[in-house]
Symmetry: C2
Subunit: 303 residues, 2 copies
């Protein structure tokens, strides 16, 4: 209907538009009439030598073209084959996602989309082409054939506590000192490498990490933390949450050693997609540098 109007406006005649659209002149007439009825205004002034946009039509024409262009973009975004690079992240707040956004802002011409797979098997999705790359912390022996893994970002962990927590005002804390404190990280799906990371971490330092419990979202977690004098959680440096501005929450860096969450980028081996190449290069240089004396699970591939 919009396309019909645009075609008539550009050809100046119903019949020419009908030819171009491959339908009959009468069908064009009906479509235009329906569009005008829908909008409640006349869009075209009919003369004996064709049709020209009325004032309303002149105003509407660029909008109609814009709609068609946006529709085209929408279809392009999911058309298999020539679509933008698609990167999977665990969630959109963690530091790798933020780094991808920064990359996109500094290279606006590089088209890329960020998605969140709910799948456990991200490698399978990468192989199948559902996504082009995925940020994970996959153990080296779990990377299947055909998939490459590059450890691109180590996110140092920080303890997040409310103002009443015993550790609220220390400048930093050693992981071993967290033994006995209750650490709550809701929303971790069992069986994911995320869960494996925290399990390894808790075993290495004798922590009690409660990864279960319902996940009511980060806001609810923040509320709970702010009101509790004993509860704490772990976040990565660079993760983007509303805190600590709201709720007066404190981020306490972990040191000696500094546990890092090893973000690994999975992608199809040999994938030469230019945006993927550029993204990897960007992350190699622009990622937050790892502090000295880090701790990471042994099972993470050392790249």
């Amino acid at each position: 209907m919009l396309r019909t109007f645009v075609t008539v406006a550009e050809t100046g005649q119903f019949h020419a538009a009908a030819d171009e659209l491959g339908i009959s002149q009468q069908a064009v007439s009906k479509r235009i009439a329906a569009l005008e009825r829908h909008l409640g205004v006349m869009l075209l002034v009919r003369t004996s030598r064709g049709s020209r946009p009325s004032p309303d039509g002149q105003v509407f024409l660029p909008h109609a073209k814009k709609v068609l262009a946006v529709v085209e973009q929408a279809e392009q975004a999911v058309r298999p084959g020539s679509r933008p690079l698609r990167v999977d992240v665990l969630n959109r707040r963690i530091s790798p996602a933020q780094a991808v956004y920064r990359f996109h802002r500094s290279h606006p011409e590089m088209e890329l989309d960020v998605v969140t797979l709910s799948t456990e098997n991200a490698a399978q999705a990468v192989l199948a082409g559902t996504v082009d790359a995925s940020f994970r912390a996959l153990p080296a022996d779990q990377v299947p054939a055909g998939i490459s893994a590059e450890r691109l970002m180590d996110a140092p962990l920080e303890l997040l506590v409310g103002p009443g927590h015993p550790l609220a005002d220390v400048p930093h804390v050693r992981p071993a000192e967290l033994a006995g404190h209750r650490i709550w990280i809701p929303g971790i799906m069992p069986g994911t490498e995320w869960a494996a990371f925290y399990r390894t971490l808790s075993e290495a330092f004798g922590l009690s990490i409660d990864a279960l419990g319902p996940d009511f979202g980060p806001e609810a977690l923040m509320d709970t933390l702010a009101d509790s004098d004993s509860l704490a959680t772990l976040v990565g440096r660079g993760d983007r949450y509303l805190w600590p501005q709201a709720h007066d929450l404190r981020r306490i860096p972990l040191r000696d050693p500094a546990p890092v969450y090893p973000h690994v980028l999975l992608f199809r081996s040999g994938d030469q997609h230019p945006v993927l190449t550029a993204l990897r290069a960007y992350l190699r240089t622009a990622g937050p540098r790892t502090p000295r004396d880090v701790w990471a699970p042994e099972w993470v591939e050392a790249v």
Copy 2:
């Protein structure tokens, strides 16, 4: 179809979306299936507890919302009642149109559209509400009741000639000196106040202005001028054409006296539209100032 997808994505269930859209669950199912078939990708992953966007769906969702928003804008632009201010100009290149564009750029929040009425009777169109304001050079006695006229911009005329024209290199020229030169201004509709202006001008200074002839557009006129040693035309200072960059055309200001085209803004008396008020205020201050010793037709209302 897009709205259906967005609704399902936001509610998470076909049935809830169907309720919200006022159709049956089966209809929603069909629509989504048709959309997925059209795009060639799965947009939703169906589980036994609802549906969530697939990676393709996650990418497509913001595009779909964008389409809906743009469609809404398009309808808004022509919806009678609360639509943007609509200003008619003789054509989009002349200085009043350029001034309106400048106003729009400096006040992006002021929504306004520019159209070109092909009607002779712009005042009628303003009264009828087809447009909210119209730039004309209407004689004072032709302004009908209910219409206000404000002379907002005097555009000094300039002679436009090719490099071979006898007047090509003079710094300025008096109108009377143009007697004997052939001046060609194609595309003037007889009976318009534009034609009346040039008729009055030619009578006042004994010029021979050829306002007839086919109008092949400004590019053709420029070509002709550039190649001719005797032809010239008149343009307003501030009119935006591709010249004089292309074709090596020269603009020669007219002086002693300086004829000005008196652009008058017509609008409904008492129209309090804030954008109209702001536009008039802007044009009063930002318009090009009139030089001393101007000439304008007597019949123009002196405001």
